[in-house]
Amino acid sequence: MINLSRRKLLVSGLAATAGASGLAVAARLAQKYGLVPPDHGGIYGLGETLTYASQRLLTRHSLAREFSRSQISPRPFPNELAPLTEEFKRLQAGRFADWRLSVDGLVAEPASFSIADLKSYPSRSHITELACEEGWSYIAEWIGVPLSHVLNVVGVHPQAKYVVYTSMEPDTWDSIDMADALHPQTFLCYGMNGSELPVAHGGPLRIRLPRQIGYKNIKFITRLTVTDSLKRFGKGLGSAACEAGYAWYTGI
């Protein structure tokens, strides 16, 4: 009995040491290769990190499923909007001619774009599904300029790790890593189903990330900030949604 328990103790001690050092090494590697999400702390950090890391390894270059024109949902459902601000109404009255998207942070030339400027760049579209974290989903054609194009225009510094995007809606901002920012299906979206992007769907400018859940696809984008760290933004969790208890990475 004594021998057995001593051996058990030794074996489990060794296993625990190996496990702990294995975890430490894994954490270091994950940090080095950008596999740790900004909201990795707290009791759900393990799940968030496992999901983000595994999807980054699996889906860095994979494309969201695209659909045929006949599969477009006849009535796309616009989720509830907060009351529009006075400034928004003023811009809307001017048919968004004065809408500006400013781009700053770790870029060679900070710049500001009108919707017309964005429309002058090569236009791209994809027919993809917008899925809400609540469970519903619809398919629409999304028209816009790839975010990567705008980032190329301003020239992103090599140490850039994230793009923070801010809405005209109060306290609404989020961020994505460079893999998502440079992904060919990530759009600054100004059109939908062959026409202008309706205000209910985020017009005049919405970010469209077809590989992530609806709430990450923020409406009314006015500012992009390229950064190497999310610590200085809000509580440092990477998004306003995180501060309300919602995950930063929503590929799941």
Binding site: M1, I43, Y44, L46, G47, E48, L50, T51, Q55, L58, T59, S62, L63, A64, R65, F67, Q71, S73, R75, P76, F77, N79, E80, E129, A131, C132, E133, E134, G135, W136, S137, Y138, I139, P210, R211, Q212, I213, A241, A244, G245, Y246, A247, T250, G251, I252
Partner: protein, 261 residues
């Protein structure tokens, strides 16, 4: 690798001398350490997944078939419960508080732990012969009579015999195999098919199920089947002697004395 207790040794080998002299309690090995460990981790994860799953469903208690579905489309069916979202037409005059943030986080975290635990269980079960020895019905077992008896005995609230306390009957074996190799894989698959990231890497995982909303509906019904299994499982444990069987799943030993004698 031999896992301690995974092999059904003759009872006397496992009886520590100090305990074997006890007058009423005769100890026999029942479940291996790995089976017990994975059983309770899975139990904790299951309840976390169930609670958070219900919370997530409440935000949209409507189900669809095919790729898409919103409150603007006709549902396959709608659960007669209130919702945590104002725009869902439920017929109730109130909106429940939003719990989706932590519910989603805990749902996915519990899913990760459950899947990793399940992999550990399946791999070790194959290596140690757990499935072959304890769950695969033998040819002798597999008769319609045996199957019928295993159905009718519990329905008459008959306690299982002493012999059955150390093994499973054919109905139990088939049920456990179905849960482990059909329901669990299906609930994981239909869950992953709802992940936009996963679906971008493995689009067939969604199309084979008939679309994203079909995957969600399948996920719901397989979860219901798992809850049904849980009820029957616990009812059977109660019928066989709750403390005895639960003790066996905690300590690995079953006390084969009569309970409440």
């Amino acid at each position: 690798m031999a896992i301690p207790g995974s092999v059904q040794l003759p009872a006397e080998i496992c009886i520590p001398s100090a305990v074997s002299s006890a007058p009423v309690t005769k100890l026999a090995p029942r479940h291996s350490a790995l089976v017990r460990f994975t059983h309770w981790i899975t139990t904790i994860c299951f309840f976390a997944l169930l609670l958070t799953g219900i919370e997530i469903v409440i935000s949209h208690p409507r189900f669809y078939w095919g790729e898409t579905g919103t409150v603007l489309t006709k549902p396959l069916f709608q659960l007669p419960i209130p919702s945590s979202r104002r725009l869902v037409p439920t017929g109730y005059g109130y909106v429940l508080p939003d719990q989706n943030g932590w519910s989603r986080a805990l749902h996915f975290e519990a899913a990760w732990i459950a899947v990793l635990t399940g992999l550990l269980y399946v791999v070790s079960g194959l290596l140690t012969g757990h499935f072959r020895k304890n769950l695969l019905p033998s040819n002798a077992d597999f008769s319609w009579r045996a199957l019928l008896t295993s159905f009718t005995k519990p329905l008459r609230f008959e306690r299982p015999s002493e012999a059955e306390a150390s093994s499973y009957n054919v109905l139990q074996r088939l049920t456990y195999l179905f849960v482990i190799f059909v329901l669990f894989p299906l609930v994981i698959w239909s869950g992953l098919a709802m992940s936009l990231g996963f679906a971008s890497a493995f689009p067939w995982s969604v199309t084979l199920l008939g679309g994203r909303q079909s995957a969600r509906t399948i996920h719901f019904f397989v979860s219901l089947a798992l809850v049904l299994f849980l009820f029957v499982h616990v009812a059977m444990v109660c019928l066989a002697g709750f403390w005895n069987r639960t003790g066996a799943m905690i300590t690995g030993r079953t006390a084969t004395r009569k309970e409440h004698a």
